[in-house]
């Protein structure tokens, strides 16, 4: 939101002040025997290196190529994903929602920032920020235009507000021009935003 500057004599920006305060709390928790810093390192490292939208992309690519898996995914996503050895374990209550020519799904959490972490990694800043959280439920087409996405006028837009511990993953439509592609090739074009519902997979654009 707004930039907030302290005009102190010292050269502490607000950022470094926060950094110092965070460090202080971690020191206190460590000295009290509440946390082992190495255990915190391990959590941070997992999100920096292993848990990201690739997990979700593999699930989507599998659903695009395997009708039985797709059916199972739409019935019970947590259960279906648990059968895939190569994707990290997923917690309970994941719901996959399918985009069709008639319906486009979008996921939001207006109250905080609930997000399918195990499938998509940490949520991006925009997902957690006021512009998206406030407008997605009222003006989703306006939000989509911020992402450069325009849908047909008669497409039904379904917005899922994640107000409980259920989590949602959008199963985007497989784009034309990907006939004959392997699951691995397909996974490369499944972007994070396409699984939130703020983007569409584009065969010409591979996920970074």
């Amino acid at each position: 939101m707004s930039d907030h500057h302290h005009h102190d004599d010292d050269d502490h920006s607000e950022l470094s002040e926060t950094q110092l305060r965070v460090r202080a709390l971690e020191t206190i928790l460590t000295e009290k025997g509440y946390v082992e810093p190495a255990a915190l390192d391990a959590i941070v490292e997992a999100y920096e290196t292993r848990i990201g939208p690739r997990n979700g992309a593999r699930v989507v690519a599998k659903a695009w190529t395997d009708p039985a898996f797709k059916k199972a995914l739409l019935e019970d996503a947590s259960k279906a994903i648990a059968t895939l050895g190569h994707v990290s374990r997923v917690g309970d209550h994941l719901i996959a929602v399918e985009n069709t020519p008639k319906t486009h799904n979008m996921i939001v959490c207006t109250l905080c920032s609930c997000y399918p972490w195990e499938m998509l990694g940490l949520p991006p800043v925009w997902y957690k920020a006021a512009p998206y959280r406030s407008r997605a439920v009222k003006d989703p087409r306006g939000v989509l235009s911020d992402f450069g996405v325009t849908l047909a006028k008669d497409t039904e837009i379904r917005v899922w507000d994640s107000t409980a511990e259920t989590r949602f993953l959008v199963l985007p439509m497989r784009p034309a021009g990907t006939e004959g592609w392997s699951e691995e090739q397909l996974a490369e074009i499944v972007t994070r935003d396409s699984m939130i519902g703020t983007g569409l997979p584009d065969p010409a654009v591979k996920m970074k």
Binding site: M1, S2, T18, Q19, R21, V22, R23, A24, L25, E26, T27, I28, L29, E31, K32, G33, Y34, V35, E36, A39, L40, I43, V44, Y47, I51, V90, G91, D92, H93, I95, T110, L111, C112, W117, E118, G121, L122, P124, V125, A129, P131, R133, S134, R135, V137, K138, F147, K153, E156, R158, W160, D161, S162, T163, A164, E165, T166, R167, T198, K208
Partner: protein
């Protein structure tokens, strides 16, 4: 509580700004905060609902001007102060000055990491069958508790349809107050955009919320 966190339908926040190739964390301290919150949630008994309520309880100006992890940090520190797990003097001194009561599940160590990397289940055994069936028309209650609730303001007092029954789950409204889980049936309730926002709303819009049974009454 009717706080600024409950922003569904508010105007004036501007366009969605997307950062290309965004890193998982923008500053190192953000990762430390995220991990500390996980640790204190898993072993310290500060459950997810309590943490959310602490963030919602930040002064509105602070809530709006703080980044996501800054909110997490401020709320975590406040929660620990309120529970006597850390003292104000310790925060000022930036070190521990006394022994504090041990955590409910002991020190958060390497052996706990795997457990927190998969979300726990919030599903519980029901004590009664669900009151509503698929397709039922229901009205969300007009409730305005000053404590934590997961019924957003924009969806109060509106009529929608039960679309999914998602099992019986921990009830955040009591869990946030430390009053226990009181599991409740959880439903996906879908509303038409026009029912929520009036006749000018996008006619193609449908919005659903995840609603606990106590939020609903039969239409």
């Amino acid at each position: 509580m009717n706080g600024v966190h409950d922003m569904g339908g508010m105007d004036g926040f501007g366009k969605v700004e997307v950062e290309q190739n965004e890193p998982p964390f923008h500053e190192k301290w953000e990762g430390r905060v995220m991990a500390m919150v996980r640790a204190m949630g898993a072993n310290g008994g500060i459950n997810i609902d309590m943490q959310r309520f602490s963030r919602e309880s930040l002064p509105p100006v602070v809530y709006l001007e703080s980044s996501y992890y800054k909110k997490w940090f401020l709320a975590l520190r406040q929660s620990m102060l309120e529970r006597g797990m850390v003292g104000k003097d310790e925060i000022e001194a930036a070190r521990s000055l006394r022994q504090s009561p041990p955590l409910k599940r002991g020190k958060f160590s390497m052996s706990d990491v795997q457990r927190v990397m998969t979300r726990g289940s919030f599903r519980r055994d029901p004590s009664a069958p669900p009151a509503f069936a698929l397709g039922d028309r229901v009205r969300t209650k007009n409730i305005n508790p000053v404590t934590h609730t997961r019924l957003p303001r924009y969806a109060r007092g509106h009529t929608g349809t039960i679309e999914r029954i998602n099992g019986c789950h921990v009830f955040p409204d009591t869990s946030a107050r430390g009053e226990g889980e009181h599991p409740q049936w959880l439903y996906t309730v879908v509303f038409s955009g026009r029912d929520l926002w009036g006749d000018d709303a996008d006619p193609t819009l449908k919005v659903s919320i995840e609603a606990f049974e106590p939020y609903l009454e039969k239409k």
